[in-house]
């Protein structure tokens, strides 16, 4: 039995310490992802806390056939959507350039970070699919489960997302050549 499964078993038995150990490795990754879906750093932290509490509370419903990270991301995505309220506005609408938590976490020298462009160019679900694929190296199947979408939706939108970003990159390259 792997360490993760042992910790899951102990956490299922009610051990908060085991659960804290279990999710320790995921906290930074989750927070980084939640920053892309929250209007402020504090909101992202709150959603992370709510996500971990919900995961611990409902750990009995975790199906070991899923990867634990997939299950965790699914809860995080739902909590992030819930924290934005029932109107389900796109995160782009909430963003305030000065207080953008993602912008704040990217060094000034790295303003060409592709995720900043991705967030402007892609809708929330496509952005999340791209993130889970390229930042988290998740499989298509796991992304589908996390987003509660079909595998074909995931494949098509990953392809669209890539095309949009490639077009953007090519356009930016041509522009810099023109000015260069």
């Amino acid at each position: 039995m792997s360490d993760e499964l042992k910790l899951i078993a102990a956490a299922k038995a009610g051990s908060a310490d085991a659960f804290a150990d279990l999710v320790r490795a995921y906290r930074v990754r989750l927070l980084r992802f939640l920053l892309t879906r929250s209007p402020s750093y504090a909101d992202a932290e709150d959603v992370l806390q709510d996500t971990l509490i919900a995961a611990f509370r409902y750990l009995h419903s975790y199906d070991p056939r899923w990867r634990f990270s997939t299950w965790l991301y699914r809860i995080a995505i739902r909590n992030a959507a819930k924290s934005r309220g029932p109107d389900l506005v796109e995160i782009g609408d909430l963003r305030d350039e000065e207080n953008d938590p993602l912008q704040q976490c990217i060094a000034d020298s790295e303003t060409d970070n592709l995720w900043l462009n991705a967030r402007q160019l892609l809708n929330d679900d496509v952005f999340a699919a791209m993130w889970l694929r390229y930042a988290e190296d998740m499989s298509i199947s796991d992304i589908s489960k996390s987003l509660d979408r079909s595998a074909s939706w995931t494949k098509v939108n990953l392809m669209r997302g890539r095309r949009v970003l490639e077009t953007h990159l090519n356009g930016a390259a041509q522009q810099s050549e023109a000015y260069g």
Binding site: G14, I53, R57, L59, L102, C105
Partner: protein
């Protein structure tokens, strides 16, 4: 991994994020305050007596035998009445009747009407003095 995938992966890692000690403490404190829900436990099935299986098997076989016997059971043959000749019982209609037989009543009715007409005609003549 292609160039775009590599760039996306590296750019994600360049997002500088850390879980502060304050958040860490907050999370751990809230986890300790949570009581995880457990799956509903169902009562364990009560062990059956050892002969229960045999008893139910014998009951099943007996029921099957009884059912087969009932289905195949036949009452003693009762005397069967001779078959009725349906063709003979139903009165046949004489389709080849003479035309006069069929039109007779109509002819009689016609005669009566003509007779009444004649009488009425004579009465009218008497009334007008012809």
């Amino acid at each position: 991994m292609d160039k775009l995938a590599r760039q996306l992966h590296d750019d994600a890692q360049r997002i500088d994020v850390s879980v502060s000690d304050e958040l860490d403490r907050r999370i751990e404190a809230s986890l300790r305050a949570v009581t995880p829900e457990f799956e509903e436990s169902y009562p364990a099935p009560v062990a059956r007596p050892p002969l229960f299986g045999w008893a139910s098997t014998i009951t099943g076989v007996a029921a099957a035998v009884a059912l087969i016997a009932i289905v195949n059971w036949r009452a003693p043959a009762e005397p069967v009445p001779p078959p009725v000749n349906i063709v003979a019982a139903i009165p046949s209609i004489e389709l080849k009747a003479e035309t006069a037989v069929l039109t007779g009543p109509l002819q009689q009715e016609l005669d009566r009407l003509q007779s009444d007409l004649k009488k009425a005609e004579e009465k009218v003549k008497q009334d007008i003095g012809l």
